[in-house]
């Protein structure tokens, strides 16, 4: 496993739940979501990948979107989390806690016999 390649796969795997976690706080439009994800340093390899991801989450019923008019601005598409999305996020949080503790234990040699 190359360092960067492995990291890319990891990022891909966790980006969906991270998007859900941001939308859990409040609905956001595309660029807003991209900027908030980018603020979490190193989580986003490219801004564009957020959109196909959003569409997959929508197809899976975890996210929905609606158009909203801004004051004097053009309408923007806001993405929000669905009830199924909240449930999925709750499940992921539990899985993630277990997963990171388990992997951490093995990586740091605290969970294996030498």
């Amino acid at each position: 496993m190359t360092g960067e390649g492995g990291l890319t796969e990891l990022r891909r795997g966790v980006l969906g739940p991270c998007v859900l976690a941001l939308l859990e706080l409040r609905p956001r439009f595309g660029l807003e979501l991209v900027r908030d994800l980018a603020a979490a340093n190193g989580l986003l390899t490219s801004d564009g990948t957020v959109y196909p991801l959003l569409n997959r989450l929508r197809d899976a019923g975890l996210v929905t979107s609606q158009w909203r008019d801004g004051e004097g601005e053009r309408a923007r598409r806001y993405y929000s989390i669905t009830e199924a999305g909240r449930q999925s996020l709750t499940a992921f949080r539990a899985d993630w806690a277990w997963f990171s503790a388990t992997v951490g234990g093995v990586l740091n040699h605290t969970a294996v016999r030498s």
Binding site: F29, S46, T49, P52, R76
Partner: protein, 247 residues
């Protein structure tokens, strides 16, 4: 729309490249992604944005080829970049998707034969029970083969299938011939639904040969017809997600 970032030469160029890269992506998905990218750029760039600012925003977006691969790959791995590679990939994915269709046919037979177990015609019920025992084995072997086929196709290897996949195919074949033998004699006198399900199951087992050929071969145009006719409508949504409808 005039005087927006969309009029910038670099943006127009980027969108053109994106359109080209998304040729293998189903039209509705391509249209949606294009709109999202446009909205992103309108929000990110003011009408007066200079070359450097525009170039930086486009660089952050990622290459059109990567975006198109993300859009077309759905939850699968990103596809190869060249048109030839993409079409090869599509055929292999289509072949792998067809295996679950075969499994669906198998499960249909199981369900119907389970309903039959209340039937008083105990001889027939017994016969169906034997079949019922053989079918899950075949289902399991088919699933194993599908998973290995998916890995093989995703790795984009050419040439002969690896030993693990060959072994899985042997196991599927053994389970299939058990089912075929158990199915013998089921016909007149049995519920028409069961007979029909069994018929399509046996036909699907025969189709498996062609599906396997497509997993190994770079292209198999003759398979198009077979896939269209053998994939149930539930599976077709997957088919269009991978863009197999367009040559």
């Amino acid at each position: 729309m005039s005087g927006t970032a969309l009029d910038h030469r670099l943006v127009r160029e980027y969108l053109r490249e994106l359109d080209t890269a998304m040729r293998g992506v189903p039209a509705a998905q391509a249209r949606e992604l294009r709109q999202q990218i446009i909205a992103h750029l309108q929000d990110a760039l003011g009408p007066e944005a200079g070359d450097q600012e525009v170039a930086a925003a486009l660089r952050r977006l990622g290459s059109p080829a990567d975006l198109a691969a993300e859009a077309g790959a759905a939850s699968g791995p990103p596809g190869p970049r060249s048109a030839l590679g993409r079409s090869r990939m599509r055929w292999r994915l289509a072949a792998v998707i067809a295996v679950p269709a075969v499994i669906a046919a198998v499960l249909g037979a199981v369900q119907i034969s389970s309903e039959m177990s209340n039937d008083v015609a105990s001889g027939r019920v017994q016969h169906l029970a034997v079949l019922d025992a053989a079918v899950p084995r075949l289902t399991q072997d088919l699933e194993d083969e599908r998973d290995l086929s998916a890995g093989y196709a995703a790795a984009r290897q050419a040439g002969p299938a690896p030993v693990t996949l060959a072994n899985a195919r042997t196991a599927t074949d053994a389970a299939a011939s058990t089912v075929r033998a158990d199915a013998a004699g089921i016909g007149a006198g049995y519920p028409p639904g069961t007979v029909q399900a069994l018929h399509s199951l046996l036909a699907s087992i025969t189709d498996l040969r062609d599906i396997r050929a497509a997993v190994s071969l770079p292209t198999m145009p003759a398979l198009r017809h077979l896939l269209r006719s053998s994939i149930p409508s539930r599976e077709r949504s997957d088919e269009s997600r991978f863009g197999t409808r367009r040559p």
